[in-house]
Subunit: 367 residues, 2 copies
């Protein structure tokens, strides 16, 4: 079968040249006579891959020297616990903004360990926007936001003022999609399975002064940042293959102009899709202008009747599959449609989608 266009929200499409390189090196990486799937993490060949990957993260994200870059496991969901356990140690209190699903889960998990103030929320309008003019202030150990909301399709277009409180952000679904000023954050974390690598590695960028040797009582050793930062992410065996794939992917990003190159590429794709949605009398984007994600674009038709709408959405998704476009159903908790157009998605994929959307609209408007 030919390659399909993969609009999955994560794990999501990877650049074809990255996959080809990985296939080529499967039995012999860098003349070592073995592949990365079977290579000791203590070997010089892997250490070189590892060091290069960290250097690429630092270069492409312009990470200041007083930050550690960690390669962990367990996804963002594990970070939901690690953040309060390691940072919530002075006031035992943090401020969160609730922008839906993943931030709601982050809040729920943090509450098991510390006091959480939800200082802003967009729940009133189904999380279809990012709260404006958010300012963090007070005796908080940290402030937490979800920079891009994969399921709701919203994105912070500004970085809130924190008055010295360390800002923590989940950037799983927008990392390296455009430039980001790392120095404005205390901790950034990202499950890799969207813009970076296959699922199984979590990138954490943490300011050194936030790495404590005294996390909350009974914090598991593996959930202590210091455990991993002291050992260069090799306290235990890291997910070597996933890090290697991140390495290949970061090289691809670098070749295409780094974060700036990705921003240009991603704005072109997102503009095409949002512009079409905004002028359409059949579909509409569910997220307010000024809060829209570059990466995840949920949309609905104007059909008001719920049963009819469900039927149309299903037809839309099935029709797209017939044209080799996959994973366009909205998250099961939301419904409707969603196109995730991460870094690796080519403009041609979005052009093909818009063309299909036009055709589908015409056919169904006639009915």
């Amino acid at each position: 079968m030919a390659r399909v266009v993969n609009f999955a929200a994560g794990p999501s499409c990877l650049p074809e040249e990255v996959l080809k390189q990985a296939a080529k090196e499967m039995l012999d990486c860098n003349g070592s006579g073995m592949g990365v799937n079977e290579m000791s993490h203590r070997s010089s060949t892997f250490q070189k891959i590892f060091d290069e990957t960290e250097a690429l993260v630092r270069e492409l994200m312009n990470v200041p020297d007083n930050y550690k870059v960690l390669f962990l496991q367990g996804g963002a969901s594990t970070q939901f616990a690690m953040i309060p356990l390691n940072l919530g140690i002075k006031y035992n209190k943090a401020a969160y903004v609730d922008t839906g699903t993943w931030s709601t889960k982050a809040i729920k998990e943090a509450k098991r360990f510390i006091t959480v103030d939800t200082i802003a929320s967009s729940a009133d309008k189904g999380y279809s926007y990012i709260p404006k003019n958010v300012v963090f202030q007070g005796d908080y150990d940290y402030a937490h936001i979800t920079l891009n909301n994969t399921i709701k399709g919203s994105h912070w277009e500004y970085i809130p003022e924190t008055n010295g409180i360390p800002l923590v952000a989940d950037i799983s679904s927008c990392i390296l999609s455009e430039p980001l000023d790392v120095s404005k954050f205390g901790v950034l974390y990202a499950g890799a399975q969207k813009n970076l690598a296959p699922a199984g590695v979590t990138l954490v960028i943490i300011r050194e002064d936030l790495i404590t040797d005294k996390p909350l009582d009974k914090t598991p050793l593996m959930l202590t940042y210091k455990t991993h930062s002291d050992k260069g992410s090799m306290f235990n065996t890291p997910p070597c293959w996933n890090i290697y794939m991140m390495n290949l992917n970061l090289k691809w990003i670098k070749k295409l102009g780094g974060a700036e190159g990705m921003a240009k590429r991603n704005h072109e794709k997102a503009d095409l899709l949002y512009n079409y949605l905004d002028k359409s009398d059949y579909y509409y984007a569910t997220v307010e202008k000024g809060s829209r994600s570059l990466m995840n674009v949920p949309f609905l038709t104007y059909e008001k009747d719920e049963e009819k709408a469900k039927k149309i959405n299903k037809l839309f998704v099935l029709g797209a599959e017939k044209e080799d476009m996959y994973n366009l159903a909205g998250h099961r908790s939301v419904g409707g449609m969603r196109a995730s157009i991460y870094n690796a998605m080519d403009i041609k994929g979005v052009q093909k989608l818009v063309k299909y959307m036009e055709k589908f609209a015409q056919e169904n408007l006639r009915k």
Copy 2:
């Protein structure tokens, strides 16, 4: 470069046909038009791989129906915390046997959450044997052993009596190396990077009655077995590629006769190496007969002078590399040499090693 013989202790060699299959499907797995590295964990293609992998684990290990099979992240090191947090809930007390390095670490981590009685240890002889006639008895929530000791090279040749106390075993470095009666255990866990798959997935086999919804206070959600068992290991995104590679590897194991086939294969290799060591007047195996690992074979030369021995060991390892045999140095905490001869290691690899050992001994005995 040609493929080398890889004696690494983990991550370790994988069967060439598994790697070839993975390379072949890199851009298109099962006609889906995408590879597993970029495939949604919610897709029907991946769900099929996942279900098949679980079924293969159940079949090859003869897992009884009242056990759950979980695919987690974080390695055995994370299990060192999950076990006491989820099982240590009635007496807040467990009994451990200390057989070196990894069991020592498991004990240290468990002590942060519950009371630990170390009821037996082989520390008195440098962990060169497994304590005999171990019997667990008393008010313990569970009993813990490390079935195979990767670094020290020892292995339990009997399953200790526990008098109804659930027995927990770390089987990271011996899983599916030979048949094992799962029904004798409460929990079995294994980091996959030795006999199963690339690093990044942890297999847990747990008796259902040990899966509690009331783990110790403040146990992170991601470190609660119930979180994962309730959602079929898809509470969050699983490490899809690593599970897929496990799938291919399990099929290879099945083709070669399952656990019984592996036992035959592994005994043949281990016998060859141990028999050579036992009759050698230049080398010796460091572990007592009756406690020896099928998988990890540490050995030393009879050279008594420490500095001279270090020099010889280094020469041995470098000489082996010249003949395309890699990772024969003992663990950095132990020194000497170690050959890890996991399932995927062919008898030819061990034959080549023994031939080299003979030559090296002759050359150095002459000096």
